[in-house]
């Protein structure tokens, strides 16, 4: 394990390459440009491909074509760019193509801001494209997790034939932290049986397609895909929680916000308020069982987000309204400080 000091975006790019990412297609947008810059400098030297596409739409469709050949590939963007990619993401899901998509969130709606944000939670977990669809989403909270989860995302994408999202924010993308890389990543299978990479007259032709004109055919395809989501739920639904056993209040937060709430929880404990923390690592599938376990002795739950309140919906659904759930959030590019969160906790007592 080598250890280096790296920016989140660059560490993520390096992790992707080590995980066997052969092709990267992207379009410039702040605050994720270091990913494309890193890829353009590194991938071609290793025999890989970097293409700066004409648009986010172009980039996601290049991913579609590249993934169809069974080649490990990745694209990255930030919030407004992600909206443009949604058509392509829906097709990727519809055609069961594995790839990794990174969203380094910034403020919205519209052009919003270039400051950190978590306002794409709903889009990411509910509506990343038209149609009956979902996709696994990892939400790292450190540069190290950006590395680990990117690597994992490639494996899960391939195992379940689905796009996988790494959902971070401008804060994680831009900050530097010490990080360790695995010595060698997995590289995936070279030519999966379903790939449209030329049959060489050695197998039947393959078709990559999302069109099913017969209702029963489409319904069956979708049902099979949702069965896969259930398997992902069983196998890869992750969360981390601390000091929850005796806690009166559980603070739930994901991504960089979870670091702030961790500090706020420690401050509250120092004042004698029993606070525990809960952090979803996958936001789809949402770690419902883990949240229920973490909250079994809690009197109240506080959800903190860099948004007007989006993940709070999933927390309420998971707890089935059995425990009161309160919310504290900042929008517009503000990162909530531990003191603000602490004041909110005091107010809940």
């Amino acid at each position: 394990m080598e250890r280096s000091l790296m920016k989140g975006n660059e560490a993520l790019a390096e992790a992707a390459i080590r995980a066997g990412c052969k092709c990267y297609f992207g379009y410039p947008i702040t605050p994720q440009n270091e990913i494309g810059a890193y890829m353009s400098n590194t991938l071609p030297k290793l025999g890989g491909v970097f293409v700066q596409a004409e648009s986010e739409i172009g980039a996601i469709n290049m991913i579609y074509g590249c993934a169809a050949t069974g080649t490990r590939c990745m694209t990255s963007s930030s919030s407004p760019g992600m909206s443009l990619k949604t058509e392509g993401i829906s097709y990727l899901v519809g055609a069961d193509l594995p790839c990794v998509i990174v969203n380094i969130q910034r403020g919205g709606p519209g052009l919003g801001s270039i400051q950190p944000s978590q306002a794409d939670y709903w889009q990411t977990t509910r509506a990343l494209g038209h149609g009956d669809m979902r996709m696994p989403v990892f939400a790292p909270y450190s540069v190290q997790e950006m590395v680990d989860m990117t690597s994992k995302a490639f494996d899960i994408a391939e195992e379940f034939r689905t796009p996988v999202m790494v959902l971070a924010d401008g804060l994680l993308g831009q900050m530097m932290e010490p990080v360790s890389f695995p010595d060698s990543g997995t590289t995936g299978s070279s030519s999966p049986t379903w790939a449209t990479d030329g049959h060489d007259n050695k197998r039947k032709k393959n078709i990559v397609n999302s069109l099913f004109l017969e209702p029963i055919e489409l319904e069956n395809v979708i049902k099979e895909r949702f069965d896969r989501y259930e398997k992902i739920k069983e196998k890869h639904c992750e969360a981390a929680y601390e000091n929850t056993e005796d806690a009166d209040i559980i603070i739930a937060a994901y991504g960089s916000t979870a670091r702030i709430t961790q500090t706020a929880a420690e401050m509250a404990r120092a004042e004698g308020i029993k606070v525990g923390t809960f952090r979803p690592i996958t936001v789809y599938p949402f770690p419902e069982k883990q949240l229920q376990a973490a909250c079994k002795n809690a009197k109240k739950v506080l959800v903190v987000e860099m948004s007007m309140g989006q993940m709070v919906d999933d927390v309420k659904l998971a707890l089935d309204c059995k425990i009161p759930v309160e919310f504290y959030g900042r929008s517009g590019g503000f990162v909530p400080g531990p003191q603000e969160v602490l004041e909110k906790i005091r107010g809940m007592m």
Binding site: F25, A53, S55, I57, G58, Y64, G65, E87, K205
Partner: protein
């Protein structure tokens, strides 16, 4: 006399195209070229939304169905991952010259080693005959019921002329498929495009003036006559750019 048989690269299934439509002819000459070059096993076709969206059922090579207009980007992804494979897109006029303008222009500008087969029939066939970017001035369509008024709906796009301005283009040629002579010419152009791709000489596009008897409200013969009398004067056949970009 050689027997007139189905090209090996065309799957023996009924197609969904309307009677008299030239998609069948175009599919056939592409398949013949693939057969003659012996590249069926090395070819990946990309067919986006439009009348030819189901073409993945008709060609025997590996096939990808793409979203509306995006097949040049999809083909770029395939070709960059597998540079030694043959990759072609099969696009209509609404797909290539309206919703997918950015994708085709930039694939061409990058000099992607792919071939675009561009079927221009001046209308959106699949959705019922709306105005396309290539609809001729005065032409009646579902969305120009009084004829395309250039003062309101603007002017048609001449794709080969546009493409000929891009340095990444190794071949931009317009052909038609209205009689044996033009069909042979179209096949020759497709062969040329595939050879250019084989030699890694750059982006190639073959525009094929085609018909739509159903949405034009014509018999097949009338529709072929319209290509000659109305389309060819506006879209002259010929080679607009030819030569390796490298």
């Amino acid at each position: 006399m050689p027997n007139f048989t189905r090209p090996k690269s065309l799957v023996d299934v009924p197609n969904h195209y309307c009677p008299g439509c030239t998609h069948g002819i175009i599919h056939r000459i592409i398949a013949e070229v693939i057969d003659e070059m012996g590249i069926d096993g090395q070819t990946i076709g990309v067919c986006p939304v439009g009348c030819s969206v189901l073409a993945y059922n008709y060609f025997s090579c590996d096939m990808i169905q793409a979203s509306h207009g995006r097949s040049p980007a999809v083909a770029t992804g395939v070709k960059r991952a597998k540079p030694d494979r043959f990759v072609f897109t099969y696009q209509g006029d609404g797909d290539l010259a309206a919703i997918g303008t950015a994708e085709i222009i930039h694939a061409a500008a990058r000099g992607e080693n792919i071939t675009a087969i561009f079927v221009n029939n001046t209308t959106y066939g699949m959705t019922g005959g709306q105005m396309a970017p290539t609809t001729l001035p005065g032409q009646k369509t579902q969305t120009t019921p009084f004829g395309r008024n250039t003062a309101v709906e603007g002017f048609p796009i001449r794709v080969c002329e546009l493409m000929s301005q891009l340095d990444g283009v190794a071949l931009a040629e317009r052909v038609a498929v209205i009689d044996p002579k033009t069909i042979m010419g179209a096949k020759k152009a497709i062969r040329k495009a595939f050879e250019i791709q084989k030699n890694k000489q750059g982006f190639s596009i073959v525009e094929i003036l085609s018909n739509c008897p159903t949405n034009w409200g014509m018999t097949p013969l009338e529709s072929l006559e319209r290509i000659k009398t109305e389309m060819m004067p506006y879209y002259p056949l010929g080679v607009y750019k030819e030569g390796s970009i490298r």
